[in-house]
Symmetry: C2
Subunit: 114 residues, 2 copies
Amino acid sequence: MVQYRRTDRVNRVAAAISDPTRRAILERLAQGPARISDVAQPFAMSLTGFCKHVRVLERARLVRRTRRGRENTLELSCEPLRQVAQWVLQYEPFWNARADRLQQFLVNQKEKPQ
Amino acid sequence: MVQYRRTDRVNRVAAAISDPTRRAILERLAQGPARISDVAQPFAMSLTGFCKHVRVLERARLVRRTRRGRENTLELSCEPLRQVAQWVLQYEPFWNARADRLQQFLVNQKEKPQ
């Protein structure tokens, strides 16, 4: 069950970050919490469209929304990214191996008599 | 333009790994290249359904397909995961900061006179 929940969370988080607008929202919130209208302002879309993206991020628990005064404030919540990082980093030895082979190839090319 | 292509690649790769079947295919191929029918065998789905997942992985360049004899062979290609890792790891200081704060809280609790 725990395994299932973790799988489900990786699904949601990976889907959430597969969109450039949603990644840009997270990048904005990395500077600190902000009012939803301020975060929305630079994006060339309706507030309704923007709020749909925010809801996807909330469901993935990457963003927390709190009401302060008359306005909603958004705050980054990075913890769920850790599990995606863990999954992706399993494969680091593979891409490093390729980089090592490429480097070795370049060294060999350099050492070859012209 | 380069920036756009990188963005586009992160989109595709993150969407590709947002599905547990596709992640399981990559995990299987981490053990080495394999015939498509052998990779498909443990999955409770039609070969057609399975091949749709493979195509998503191919479009994200996470899997290479080659024809050997009468059968297609699949091979892992991890390089595109590196860019997703780079994007996700920007946020590592945030989740580490939270873990540090939690640890400090627990230390403080322990040190408190009972």
